[in-house]
């Protein structure tokens, strides 16, 4: 138990952040973190010391989230973004969005969009890999990604306007 506790202490913060990014909300992220650690402790003997330990932990955490939301995905109604939004360039670089807001934006994405966005942008998987994980076509991952970006952009703009 002491060894598990140490592993948890060392990596919980990082893995919880991963869980937050891949989950719908805080509660789901806590569940995801818990399930991930139970899997980790269950399979720790299978870790073969090739590749970084943290990478291994992170993969399990991501996989746990994928398993959760991949199952639920077909039931979700995806809200289409209006295509007519004006494409004026607005200044993202100088805008000061705080982390909580950005995290919230990601969490509010429809499940599959969120997974694709996270995998591609934050964890740098290729479309092919993502298509394999989610058991969808590469075309779908690409369209999901661009829709995800669109939704995020829209949210950022609305937020920006509110502040101004």
């Amino acid at each position: 138990m002491a060894a598990q506790s140490k592993v948890y202490q060392l990596f919980a913060d990082k893995l919880f952040a991963v869980s937050l990014k891949y989950s719908r909300n805080y509660q789901d992220a806590e569940d995801n973190l818990q399930d991930s650690f139970l899997t980790i402790f269950d399979k720790i003997k299978q870790y073969n010391h090739k590749g970084s330990f943290e990478g291994w932990l992170k993969r399990i955490t991501i996989n746990t989230a994928l398993q959760t939301y991949r199952k639920k995905a077909p039931l979700q109604i995806i809200q289409e973004v209006s295509e007519t939004i004006e494409d004026e360039e607005f200044d993202l670089e100088n805008a000061n969005f705080n982390v909580d807001f950005l995290l919230e934006c990601v969490q509010q994405l429809p499940d599959q969009y969120r997974l694709v966005f996270n995998l591609f942008v934050l964890d740098e998987y290729s479309h092919k890999e993502i298509a394999d994980f989610l058991k969808i076509s590469e075309g779908t991952t690409k369209s999901n990604l661009s829709r995800a970006r669109k939704i995020l952009k829209e949210k950022l703009e609305i937020h920006q306007k509110k502040l101004n």
């Binding site: 139970l38 970084s52 996989n63 950005l102």
Partner: protein, 428 residues
């Protein structure tokens, strides 16, 4: 362009994010881990299934190792990856293949990213002069390893973190070994020899004492209270496979004898169909009675024309025993190993002999109500005294309860035996 900006914004803010989870998450993990430890797996189920695997393993073992060495996949490119079945992500996450050199510089500018470039030339190796096997890697491919450094300031205990890095990081960049070279190298072969001391063979001999839980006789109910278990023997070969330090699974083949006797019983010929379960070879019917029971005199009076005798009945049964047993080593001594043994045996009836000795004659017959196949549940200990690395002496007291021995209820006769087996074990 806008896409890149959005991506970068989220990357900057969220990529290396760390958030402390609420303490309740750990509490709930802890309780679940404790619960899991307490759950006891039904032992017999475990031993039974592993036993089946061992028997299969015994047959498959020599063949499978042969195949592995000779078959080489016939493809151009071999990527050695970590063998995982459940987690397909594992092999790909940390490697990113890039085709453009410029990306290196781009990545170098980002924090926490360590870029290593490896260019491997074409290699061709001919294996065994027969199978041409080419390990080919395209020179344009680059391996970019992202090294996740653990930020010591972020953790509670800096010292622990350091230890961790020492353990993990040297192993992250293992040189890839050519598969063929590895397989054919003497080092591997030598290693295998040292590791594989899992099998053991032991010729054993055991002294058995047979008995029954019920004080009845399987022959006829008239012989209740007079059946005694006799000493007999068992010999055979025991084969074991050591799964790990604690668990061993064993099987083998033994010849086992069980003997019972009824001494000083009353015997008289019977013309009506006999109630006993003995079929004598001369087709005569015989009835038995306990001479020590007073009722006998009454019976002889009413059938005075019958000749009555006093004699001894002995039953000898031989079985071919195939046990499948699990052994748990509970000692930590290297010289003496003490193991708890449990399992079951399949018993195939090999000898079925009933001998009736009277002062005048000897008759041989057999019991008609024995099953050709029956089972026993086994429990006992196994003590090994190691003479050297290969040889050890074993002493193995066992208690075996026989099940399904008779195809009738056999007057409730429930045989068991106590045996002390000994042998010399050879491990290889």
């Amino acid at each position: 362009m806008a896409d890149k900006k959005i991506d970068n914004l989220f990357k900057q803010q969220l990529k290396n994010l760390e958030v402390s989870p609420n303490k309740r998450v750990w509490n709930s993990i802890e309780t679940k881990l404790k619960k899991k430890k307490r759950r006891v797996f039904p032992f017999w189920l475990f031993s039974g299934s592993v036993a089946a695997i061992l028997v299969l393993g015994l047959f498959l073992y020599p063949f499978s190792s042969d195949e592995n060495q000779n078959s080489i996949p016939n493809i151009d490119e071999i990527i050695t990856t970590i063998p995982t079945k459940k987690n397909p992500i594992k092999t790909t996450i940390d490697t990113l293949i890039l085709k453009n050199n410029k990306v290196n510089e781009l990545l170098k500018t980002q924090q926490n990213v360590l870029v290593k470039t490896k260019i491997q030339k074409e290699k061709s190796i001919i294996h065994n002069n027969k199978t041409a096997f080419i390990a080919l890697k395209k020179p344009v491919k680059q391996l970019v390893l992202k090294h996740f450094t653990i930020d010591a300031n972020l953790t509670l205990n800096q010292q622990k973190t350091n230890i961790f890095i020492n353990e993990i990081s040297p192993k992250t960049v293992l040189p890839k070994i050519d598969l063929n070279a590895f397989l054919s190298s003497e080092e591997t072969a030598a290693n295998n020899k040292v590791v594989q001391k899992n099998w053991s063979v032991a010729p054993t001999f055991g002294a058995l004492q047979s008995n029954s839980f019920a004080n009845t006789s399987p022959v006829t109910e008239d012989l209740a209270n007079s059946t005694n278990g006799e000493n007999s023997f068992s010999y055979g070969l025991q084969v074991g496979f050591k799964i790990n330090k604690r668990w061993t699974i064993q099987s083998g083949i033994h010849l086992q004898e069980m003997r019972y006797s009824n001494n000083q019983i009353g015997i008289y010929p019977s013309e009506i169909a006999t109630t006993s379960s003995i079929a004598f070879k001369d087709n005569t019917s015989v009835s038995f009675n306990n001479t020590n029971a007073e009722s006998l005199s009454l019976r002889t009076n009413s059938f005075d024309s019958f000749i009555r005798n006093t004699g001894n009945l002995s039953q000898n049964f031989g079985y071919i025993e195939i046990p499948v047993e699990m052994k748990y080593n509970f000692s930590n001594n290297k010289k003496i190993e003490a193991q708890l043994v449990t399992g079951f045996s399949s018993l195939f009836l090999d000898k079925n002999e009933v001998i009736l000795n009277t002062p005048n004659s000897t008759r041989i017959g057999e019991l008609t109500n024995l099953n050709a196949i029956n089972f026993s549940g086994n429990l006992g200990f196994d003590f090994n005294y190691f003479l050297n690395n290969n040889w050890s002496l074993t002493l193995n007291p066992m208690f075996k309860i026989h099940l399904n021995t008779y195809n009738t209820d056999a007057n409730g006769f429930a045989p068991f035996n106590l045996g002390i087996y000994s042998g010399i074990k050879y491990q290889f």
